[in-house]
Symmetry: C2
Subunit: 368 residues, 2 copies
């Protein structure tokens, strides 16, 4: 499995692995793909700096990337405290009542409250870029469209290419107009923030529209070599996988609370996801659990806009993680969750994907 | 482009074309695929009989199939008049008011009202099967899951294989348990009645679950050879296309009112569809127009269950067709509508698809 992106980025396989875990990201890079570390959870830039030091030392000299979250429209800025005053009491009461009804305990005394993820803020995302450019990163990806043009230009000044996710053709065209180097076509079936057009339709549309201006990666529904072959048949130059790495042994390292989440993912089928605004305020696909069902009940309030919704549910997410109940998980994941049937090492997933890709291409050759 | 289905069904390419038009169905069969005529519009079995006589004479001796609509759960039976009494006055008033607001004229005096499509009724669908089995059909497909087992057995007694559409793995398993010979994996992106799982995920899931018990066709998002290659990479033995044939010259024959509809489809992008219950009472993907938008307004009533909703909007559909306004079309179509950029002969579409499939497979071979 080789495309022009392999030489360009110095990777063995055009498999881009997005993950919030440095252990997973490093393992993806060591296995021949490009591990892309999600930065949104780092409220403190110094913590990101330490983690990227670790990445520099633990990727066996292979390239890796980072993923920041900069919405195209600059959202409200402010500290968690300032923004918190914008959250209606009705919403806070609903969250408290729902957690009680779902049997999610309070946090133990002394448990630090992280105060919500601020990585959605432009200022915080910019600090992520500043930190990352001091490391040997091979890619900056933006999960919410084009980063500001000056950020793209700074990355280019460091010889770092920029990728941006697109759920529609017009988004993709805006990205390349802004100087983005790699477009990630993110289909409806993907986990996290995602649009309404499925990969089978969206990917070749974006490939045709972008043409020679940028290679396109396929995101949404990829978890096997057959799916990677389908993506390359549709014109992708590589695949972008996120959900699939959640069911890995590496994901558990340094994440003691991952066990219930992995149990829930392994048990889930492809129909067990829901696209909802309750995670961040923008439509994102999550695992369907008792938590997401509570938010779709008739008495539930409408989710708040970004970044307020994530601040609203930040402590709830902490409590849910600590509770360790697979039926109350709050986790972004794509429809590919139906294929995540066991927890494996990253290298096993990569090895199987590459072998399956080769046999799929051979099989297709016989149908020519 | 050849799979085992070609020899089994006596077709040149494993391209199954669903269409309500006998002119399109015959052209698909003549072009080397399998034209599958939708029967749901035939309230009168004798009219279907005459049209199948025409198919027998105009397919150049090539095989063709029929598509009936038998819901798995038997819906209410009765004449249009009896059923009409179950429609609330509020719904009738909304339809009248909406058509007036959209500028859709009344039908001219003397225009026959067809009284709604009754093909959704089990009794009518059974009459379609009775008629079709007296013709040289090569396939009976059911758009809404497994037909009753006795219908499958009657088809088999005539050496006619049966296909059934599935939007989830459990549906597919029920079909093969019931004796269905071909499973059509219908992804979220498809037009008409469709589920929530996208083809990229659904298709390989169904292929794996069904195994050797039945070949699987890919429906949803197919309109090019690249997409056909992706489908075969994912394990399909052929493709099932519906929407794409709506933008053909053959579709206009005998359908004077098709012009506004085709104008609307050619102008639409992939984002211009909506999945709604307003067409039949079950979720179906339609072109987004001022008609579908009116039904999603806050003052719109909830759609009625099948078969009442279709009876409710039957005359509205007639008036809309007669009005010839592309902005008020009521038309099932998939997200592939974004690729339908001109009206062409069926044979051109087939030729381009087959050539594009071959070049895609060749290109993939170089990425091995």
């Amino acid at each position: 499995m080789r495309t022009t992106l392999c030489d360009r980025l110095g990777i063995e396989y055009p498999v881009f692995g997005f993950t919030p875990s440095e252990h997973v990201a490093a393992a993806i890079s060591r296995a021949g793909g490009l591990g892309v570390l999600g930065c949104v959870r780092f409220n403190d830039p110094e913590e990101l700096d330490r983690v990227l030091d670790w990445m520099d030392d633990n990727t066996g000299g292979r390239p890796y990337g980072v993923d920041v979250v900069m919405p195209a429209a600059v959202p409200a800025e402010g500290s968690a405290g300032d923004l918190g005053e914008l959250i209606p009491a009705e919403h806070r009461a609903f969250v408290e009542r729902t957690l009680a009804e779902l049997g999610v305990p309070e946090l133990p005394d002394g448990a630090a409250e992280r105060g919500g993820v601020l990585g959605w803020l432009h200022s915080v995302a910019r600090s992520h870029v500043d930190v990352a450019l001091n490391h040997r990163i091979a890619l900056i990806a933006n999960a919410l469209g084009s980063p500001p043009v000056d950020v793209i230009e700074r990355a280019h000044a460091h010889d770092v290419p920029v990728a941006a996710l697109a759920g529609r053709v017009d988004h993709a065209m805006r990205h390349v107009d802004n100087g983005v180097d790699l477009v990630v076509s993110q289909g409806y079936e993907a986990g996290g923030h995602t649009g309404e057009i499925a990969s089978m339709v969206l990917l070749p549309e974006i490939v045709d529209a972008v043409g020679e201006r940028a290679p396109v990666l396929a995101a949404g529904g990829i978890g096997s070599g057959r799916q990677a072959a389908a993506a390359l048949a549709l014109g992708a130059s590589g695949v972008w996988m996120g959900s699939f790495w959640l069911a890995t042994e590496e994901y558990r390292r340094g994440m003691a609370e991952a066990s219930a989440m992995q149990d829930a993912l392994v048990a889930a089928r492809s129909a067990d996801t829901v696209r909802t605004r309750i995670y961040t305020g923008k439509p994102a696909r999550l695992l369907r659990t008792r938590w997401t069902e509570a938010w779709s009940a008739p008495d539930a309030p409408a989710p708040l806009p970004m970044p307020l919704q994530n601040l609203l549910v930040a402590e709830a997410h902490q409590r849910i993680s600590a509770a360790g109940d697979p039926s109350v998980v709050s986790m972004p994941v794509g429809q590919i969750v139906g294929r995540m049937d066991r927890v494996r090492p990253v290298a096993d997933i990569m090895g199987e994907l590459v072998a399956d890709f080769a046999s799929t291409v051979d099989r297709l050759g016989t149908l020519r």
